[in-house]
Amino acid sequence: MIDKKRKTRIYSQYEIKVINFYATMIWLLPIILVVTYVFEIDQKLNINQFIFWLAIANFILTLIGTGVLLFQRDLLKRRVKADYQNEFVYLLFICSFGVLGLVVIYDYMGGNRQYIANVLVVVVAVLIYILLNLNRKFFKYDYMKKK
């Protein structure tokens, strides 16, 4: 039988940075699209071409970031904190704007605008579930605790 106490381990900054970096890379394209959508830059340029070049830049950035993370792996593995509040706040923001970006992509792809609220609700619900689990396992930030 597995000892339950052994399960609750504190993760190093390496694991946290890996989560935040890949979350940023996944949501980078939608976040940039949100900005272009709000400032209506999409009307001034070819959006398909823009998304294509953005995806390539995103891929290159992911490769560079992965390299940097692997290079700093040993150093980051030695750094440990009891909880990762700031890192979790960062992840929360990235995911919030990323989700909105996802809806923008849905709009760009010609999805029916009537169902935007439905799409948003489903995606947000799934995301909140993932974030809560990530926080419980990795970030360990107890936001309900009174200071």
């Binding site: 959508y37 709000v38 400032f39 706040v89 929360l92 909105l100 609220a117 936001y143 009174k146």
Partner: protein, 375 residues
């Protein structure tokens, strides 16, 4: 049963409190007698306090960044300060540069396209759909026309505005010009100024005052930083969602949501009124008022229950009734600034209250510790 005589200590304390109360009353009496003199003094103090406190509040936002840069080896202070200062000014100017044209174009669009619709709604549609009947509506309109309330208000508006320009615009311009200079010197000599202020305090109280000051700085700083992040985040989210649901003037409405987010509870209602009213008037074009209301409710729910507790922690958690009372009280005392800063003032009062309670508890525990040590 025999009555206990009052001890000398209690008597001394009563006399001390009575003399303080008498002194305060005497001061108030003096203030009433020399009203003009006091007005002159308070206006002079006000003109100093506004730029100094604004510089202090902005310093609370900037100082952690400077400290962070110094920790990373970017120094001396002049260099780190220059980086933060240029970055801050750059962000403010970039914000104005990108946001102002959008806001102006949306306002222009509203007045050229939708304002006639609003007038038509008020004069025709609202009359037909008036809940108490068209007869009552006509009577109300006739009363407004007879008494000429709106006409008088408009006639008085321009002279009042012109008269207030001098008294309001000059302090604002002075403050805008002074704040960056004060901020620069304050951040440059942050530690020196704190040290000088500590040296004014009698040595007996120095430790306690320094501790209280640091706690207040922490509380107000945390509030300001958290509030700024929340304002930007909620404003941006509202703008994006408004655009997604197809609401016209999404930028102005999103900006209102972001700006009013600084006022707890009331801000939500103030921000929701313009887009819902607009959706109501412009129906069936654009999203319905119920959808706009639902969007506002969901955004505020997520902000209040997920973002705010995570960003601010629970250190600024004050009971809603206390916040509402402080908004009303400080709002009537200091106007718009009082409304905006009601929550941090209430939080600061709580910090001071808790601090004095701690000191009292420490004093009560000290004799016991002494006995324990000797024993």
């Amino acid at each position: 049963m025999k009555k206990q005589p009052i001890s000398d200590q209690t008597l001394n304390r009563i006399i001390k409190y009575l003399s303080i109360a008498l002194l305060v009353m005497a001061l108030l009496f003096m203030a009433i007698q020399f009203k003009d003199l006091w007005n002159w003094i308070t206006s002079a103090v006000k003109s100093v306090i506004l730029p100094v406190s604004l510089a202090y509040l902005i310093a609370l936002l900037f100082f952690p960044l400077i400290k962070y840069l110094e920790k990373k080896g970017i120094g001396p202070r002049g260099l780190s300060l220059a980086i933060v200062f240029i970055l801050g000014i750059g962000i403010v100017f970039a914000g104005f540069f990108f946001v102002t044209p959008l806001v102006i174009s949306e306002i222009n669009n509203f007045f050229s396209n939708d304002f006639p619709k609003v007038i038509t709604y008020l004069t025709v549609d609202m009359r037909d759909g008036f809940i108490l009947g068209t007869d009552i509506f006509d009577r109300i309109m006739a009363y407004i026309e007879d008494t000429n309330i709106i006409g008088e208000w408009l006639n008085n508006l321009l002279p009042t505005f012109l008269a207030s320009v001098g008294s309001v615009a000059i302090p604002i311009i002075t403050t805008i010009a002074l704040v960056p200079i004060l901020l620069l010197y304050y951040l440059l000599d942050y530690e020196l100024i704190t040290e000088r202020m500590r040296s004014i305090i009698p040595q007996k109280h120095e430790k306690n005052v320094a501790e209280l000051g640091s706690r207040l700085n922490q509380t107000v700083g945390a509030y300001l930083r958290g509030q700024l992040i929340l304002m930007i985040a909620i404003g941006s989210v509202a703008t994006i969602v408004y655009k997604l649901i197809g609401l016209k003037y999404f930028f102005v409405f999103g900006l209102i949501v972001g700006l009013t987010n600084i006022i707890p509870y009331f801000g939500t209602i103030i921000a929701a009124v313009p887009p819902i009213t607009y959706a109501f008037i412009s129906a069936p074009v654009g999203p319905g008022p119920l959808l706009v209301l639902a969007v506002n409710v969901v955004i505020q729910f997520i902000e209040g229950n997920i973002f705010q507790p995570i960003i601010m922690g629970r250190q600024l958690e004050i009971h809603p009734i206390v916040i509402i009372i402080s908004i009303l009280f400080f709002g009537s005392l200091f106007g718009a600034l009082g409304v905006v800063f009601a929550s941090p003032i209430a939080a600061s009062i709580r910090v001071i209250w808790n601090f004095f309670k701690e000191i009292k508890a420490r004093k009560l525990n000290q004799p016991d510790e002494g006995v324990a040590n000797t024993g």
